[in-house]
Symmetry: C2
DNA sequence: CTGAAAGCGCTAACAC
DNA sequence: GTGTTAGCGCTTTCAG
């Protein structure tokens, strides 16, 4: 394994000159630059990451802290990771994915204190997230995916849940649906302060109110069984429902299963829209799901770019940005077959 | 940020003593050890990873190279990652997940040459995998998940596809199924030399032959549509089929959808077994799928432990191990309703 | 525009 | 059982 010394000797220059050519931190004449690069190529020289990191106090490693629960990483998160990795690579950084679960806060503290990470992107941020505290104490530059309760001081990228819900509701209302049920995450998740669940809940209430409609909301466990139970609850609460808006990517399969089990057809009896969903998952269902597609890879890229700006710049500027999901209409939404139920017996389709 | 120097001064010992206490590389009296540890605690000292790495020529970082394609990480892979991370952590190593796709071989070469990784676990190994070559050239210790074509020289952990298929077939045959169709990955995937697809194919032929049955095999694209198409093809080839064994976790939802679409009930008309599947995915379907559950977290742990042994030991010993998937019976398999078709009109259930 | 040399914070001989 | 010290391979002053 060639060192910088070898390169310097071969090029007949000093080690510092080699270093300056490689890092570009000071002007070098074209002639010596060529000599050095030729030597680098000849020896197939690769700078030693540890030595570079020690001397420069920069590891050129960025951490992406993602929750690795039993559920696995959905296509949405994967797109996110891919976008982030590409952006990091473009900036000359490595991106390491750290599967730190909720429990190992000490592990995170160690990682941060060991100066192994120049900066960190935090996924699945809770409204009150201890990881943020730990990292701030360690002085690690930070960008969030999602938002904590107090959004004022930190940089973040998040989904624009308000607009996303508004669009989804508008799509359904535009098709003629009047009784729309919102299936959220579980009550426990809501109670734990999971931002997306809370924000979409509020947004749904607001969006429905904007159309003069009654918002019906049902929590669901993150499982197919949870989805089935939620749908049963939904029919109990709103027998006339013609559309389901589901925030719960896991429960959606249970919802579809239960619908089929009741002899109801999707989309003709009941339309279904899945929130914050990747095309891959949407295509898994039969029929393919109309969904609000999350801006996965864009979010990853933007988060990393913001982080890199923090590392270079003075660090006092924050980057705060919201991105909406895009409506992609597939086979699970249609004009309701049953007449609108808010005025039973008098709906237009009833008179034809 | 305290350095080892600070600790040494506070404890009134030399830096090397601090180092030896921390690394345990040479005996230290209980008294000085206590002094040192007290100082470490008081200063909240954390060794600098870069400095340690440079001096010891060991980063204490292990890489887990996983393919990040559009599909995302299934629960199976996630379990794997979790098991690996736990094992690495237990050994005092960090585990970084590197989402190097198939394309960025240069990226991989750079990673390896920069001495940032002490060793690497490779997921989703192809029968001919260039990454193996690159890493071997860089002299990076290596453990594979899966096997290359030539299994002789490398350490690997893989699923015992032969036994897994045998068990799955035995389960179905035991229930009374005689016409079983195997839905594999796509023809393109098979042609590309994807080990699991090839090995399970051969194992299926062998297992069916062992029962005196005819193996019918259908390729399927990795999508719900692919699953639907495959099922249609299966009925065209074997109209009497009563069971489907599916290797394709993505297509399985299409298979179920098409079955339902044809008015066939699972499991009474057609039984379905999903191969190498996580409980989470199996529970997503309605009914929940009888599946061969992959030994995800065990494989991750075993792979890392083998890698750690390589790092410490002389390095000439290989670890080669196969783990079978476990049959978990859920709601998608049952005794066939239709009589066995290999002897039409003369089957036992027919005569009753 | 280039070189010499002093570290970065730690490990691991080498002394005693 | 403990201390001294020479590096690990690079970056970055400080000189010129």
């Amino acid at each position: 394994m060639a060192t910088m010394h070898d390169v310097a000797r071969l090029a007949r220059v000093s080690v510092s000159t080699v270093s300056y050519v490689l890092t570009g931190t000071r002007p070098i004449s074209q002639a010596t630059r060529d000599k050095v690069l030729a030597a680098v190529a000849e020896l197939d020289y690769q700078p030693n990451a540890m030595a570079r990191g020690l001397a420069s106090r920069r590891s050129r490693i960025l951490g992406l802290l993602m929750p690795m629960d039993e559920r696995g990483l959905g296509a949405t998160e994967t797109a996110f990771v891919t976008g982030a990795a590409a952006a990091a690579s473009a900036g000359g950084y490595h991106l390491v994915l750290s599967p730190v679960g909720g429990g190992d806060l000490d592990d995170l503290r160690r990682l941060a204190s060991q100066r192994m990470l120049d900066g960190v992107v935090l996924m699945e941020v809770q409204l009150a997230d201890e990881r943020v505290t730990v990292l701030q104490e360690a002085g690690t530059p930070l960008v969030l995916i999602g938002r904590t309760g107090d959004t004022s001081t930190l940089s973040y990228v998040d989904i624009d849940f308000e607009q996303t819900v508004r669009e989804a509701v508008a799509h359904l209302v535009g098709l003629g649906h009047r009784s729309i049920v919102y299936v959220n995450h579980s009550a426990a998740t809501l109670a734990s302060g999971y931002g997306p669940a809370l924000r979409t809940r509020d947004a749904f209430v607001a969006a429905m109110a904007g159309h003069g409609l009654e918002p019906v909301m049902i929590p669901a466990e993150d499982s197919a069984a949870g989805g089935r139970a939620a749908l049963a609850a939904a029919f109990a609460r709103a027998p006339e429902l013609t559309a389901v808006l589901a925030m719960n990517e896991t429960a959606i399969f249970g919802i579809l299963g239960e619908l089929t089990g009741r002899g109801l057809s999707v989309p003709h009896d009941v339309s279904v829209v899945s929130m914050v969903t990747s095309p891959q998952v949407a295509e898994l269902a039969t029929p393919a799901l109309t969904a609000m597609t999350s801006p996965g890879s864009a979010m990853g890229r933007i988060a990393i770019e913001a982080l890199l700006r923090h590392l270079d710049g003075p660090g006092d500027e924050r980057h705060q940005q919201l991105l909406p999901c895009a409506l992609e209409v597939r086979g699970s939404t249609a004009v309701p077959r049953r007449p609108a139920q808010d005025a039973p017996g008098r709906s237009p389709t009833d008179g034809g």
